[in-house]
Symmetry: C2
Subunit: 454 residues, 2 copies
């Protein structure tokens, strides 16, 4: 064994350290298969804070890069390995340490799976709202690393609004505690929120205090079919301008509708250019859906189908949930994550259609429409280098369009490797310089997830 | 004129620069009269971003400290002048630049008064929720500097949850743009939230994009009288554990109740040891109040008075609104701001009563009870040095108790000068060192609000 693995083994239990290249190779990638990934020297699975501190102290001493990983469901390569690194998998630190209904908080280790926290909280009448599509497998630590969003964000907000305090092992092995267990607190700079979304480049989260909420009533949904994305986006704007607060507002374009039909024979009308799903979880969802249905018809919807009950709602929402699986069957996919002001979403969608036509590619789009957060999904043949180049070109054009429309290159997936080259275009040189200086404060040797995010 | 004022005058219009010591003396203090304050060399009132950049460039070149100020309603000395500084008053940059109902955002200059933004948003059916007690005079820039809270936070959260993006002039005059105009966004480290609550020590906010919400229905309140603070706190815990989300939940102790009675003859029963005010602004406030009233009675309330209508609600809430004014009449006051987990609030209140007895002082307490955010108000005779020393002693003991109970020394007022010595006790040496390093990244010469916060 190498000096590195010897040193790591001194502070880790048997089985917490894997060097077999056949096994470590499985930890090279998250879900962004298109980004480069190196070959790790070792994968470690600590179970205690002290073990994480030992790993980071060793890494600092030997100047070895460390790539923290959760469930590797990320979509931007932020958890991809670099050559000769320590992959620091947090999945074995997966205990829910506290659930506190009076203070409406949970204290969790980073490897807790999002859905497990939601289910445990649910038994106490509470919920942990952020719900990325991968919620059945993604971890709270990964959610914190990326600042994850989800379908509920239009009403309930994103991860950063639910993280109250963190225990973090720094690059040199010191333990930092940030934030609080209280509902409010403003003592010192908000290091907690600086760490949320920092993609493992500033420290390794080993414990989190997160806010819970009372579990909402089951949501009731409607589906509205539109003859154009413009009309659907106009309906979205009208719903928000009239002061409604849906618990979900999702949009699927015609490419996605057809793909879902092909996969699941859902009988969605294929002439539909945009399918809008809207749900409410307040005390009078049927009344709110009726009012929103009227707004959709006024905006040009050709049909509005309100669910009668929760089972029907689930069937409608199933179309949205199957979208990525359905599009994945059409070829290799690159999923973009551009958020724009919702008033500009119509321009975003028509612009993406124009890019698809110009690049001669199929691009399906699903949107967290209430947030203006679009996911254009570029479909191509990865074995055809010329087509892959066009796919990359269209992906970049989509980000450029998003910025032109006052948006951001990433609403909820993070920068990772995938969008690193675009970050400065969005942030400008002053912000980028500050970001790099902040990185140096936390990680002067540059060993934490090098090359990611900033 | 000095070199400093000559140089400042080169980039400022006539009248934007004041050197008359009789006038500048009025800008020495915020509302924390007990903290030290220096004599400013000059007070400037810029009206444009470029003027602020000119001021900061000049300050950097001449190494002159700069103290940013809003309406100076702060309670921790964070805006107090230091000797020979430039006081940078942002009150003339007070335009609401955009109000956008579709995207539910406002773009404002920092000198906009909180209540003016709320009223302007209200005309469009929207609201800006954070509502510090000083909302009729405090500015959005000041709210951002302190991370201000308010009465609505138990349901609607604090300032940091409403700030989406900032334009900030850095210490050297460079202009930094952070964040976004979109509902979601995770590109790069969250500099926006790092700046919120940084008390003017990292940069000068010159523009803010803030989130608005649909205006809620008028709230309906009840008042419940308790024979002990323990019983009132038990009711608070029960309300939260049962999943209610009141729009306001405030607690006044017997000292405060008596003071308000003396001021306004409100006829509150003086035997009451704690008065709890609870309000709801959802679709069925009366039903929620009825249920909460039952919980209060079960917890030991001697009387529950639900308002029949909005006018009655306002009368009940008036008791809370008059609290500080009423306590101010009893002597000089020092207002503390300790937040604890709400499950520990009963211990906090009995501990404060014990401290008052031990120090032989009157201490009134009002709490944002739903948040566990207590404001013990120490009353003393400032002309009696021995009593003033006991007041300071009790103030410190209150903070110590808050930390013992898992709380924070400041829920919403900020550290400023008042609590600077306590910050390390709360944060620990690792966090404090990082905070100081972050400060150095933004302000290597240490000219921005020196000696405050960190």
């Amino acid at each position: 064994m190498s000096d590195l693995t010897d040193r790591l083994a001194e502070g880790l239990p048997a089985g917490a350290l894997v060097v077999d290249p056949d096994v470590t190779a499985a930890y090279r990638y998250d879900m962004a298969g298109f980004c480069e990934a190196g070959a790790p020297a070792v994968v470690v699975f600590p179970e205690t804070v002290e073990q994480v501190q030992h790993i980071m102290r060793t890494a600092t001493e030997l100047r070895v890069p460390v790539v923290p990983q959760g469930a590797r469901t990320g979509l931007s390569g932020g958890a991809n390995a670099v050559d000769d690194c320590i992959v620091l998998s947090m999945v074995k630190m997966n205990r829910i340490l506290e659930l506190d209904p009076v203070n409406r908080i949970a204290v969790v280790e980073p490897g807790v799976v999002n859905a497990e926290l939601s289910r445990a909280a649910g038994k106490l009448g509470l919920t942990y709202p952020p719900d990325p599509s991968s919620w059945e497998s993604c971890t709270i630590g990964g959610n914190i690393g990326t600042g994850a969003g989800g379908l509920c964000c239009v009403k309930y907000g994103v991860t950063s609004e639910y993280v109250l305090g963190l225990d973090v092992v720094l690059a040199d092995g010191r333990l930092l505690s940030t934030g609080r267990r209280t509902a409010k607190g403003v003592a010192g700079y908000d290091l907690t929120r600086l760490l949320v979304g920092s993609e493992g480049t500033l420290g390794v989260v080993v414990r989190a205090v997160v806010a819970l909420r009372p579990a909402p009533a089951p949501q009731l949904a409607l589906a509205a079919e539109f003859p154009s994305t413009d009309a659907a986006c106009a309906a979205v704007c009208e719903v928000m301008a009239r002061g409604f607060t849906p618990s979900l507002m999702e949009l699927m374009d015609t490419v996605t509708v057809r793909a879902v039909n092909d996969l699941a024979q859902m009988g969605l009308p294929e002439s539909t250019q945009a399918l809008l799903l809207v749900a409410f979880d307040g005390p009078h969802p049927a009344a709110e859906l009726a009012a929103v249905g009227e707004l959709c018809l006024a905006a040009g919807a050709t049909e509005v189908v309100p669910a009668e009950d929760q089972a029907e709602s689930e069937m409608l929402l199933q179309a949205r949930r199957l979208s990525l699986t359905a599009l994945d069957r059409l070829g290799t996919t690159m999923i973009d994550d551009v958020a724009v002001p919702r008033s500009r979403m119509a321009e975003m969608l028509s612009g993406v259609a124009a890019i698809a036509e110009r690049c001669d590619l199929t691009i399906g789009v699903v949107c967290h429409a209430g947030d203006g957060n679009t996911h254009p999904i570029v479909i191509f043949d990865a074995d055809d280098p010329e087509q892959a180049a066009r796919a990359k070109q269209s992906f970049d054009e989509i980000m450029g369009l998003g910025l032109e429309l006052g948006g951001t290159i990433t609403g909820e997936h993070g920068v990772g490797l995938l969008k690193r080259d675009w970050l400065e275009r969005e942030l400008g040189p002053v912000a980028v310089e500050l970001q790099r200086q902040l990185k140096s404060v936390f990680d002067p040797l540059g060993i934490l997830n090098p090359g990611k995010a900033v």
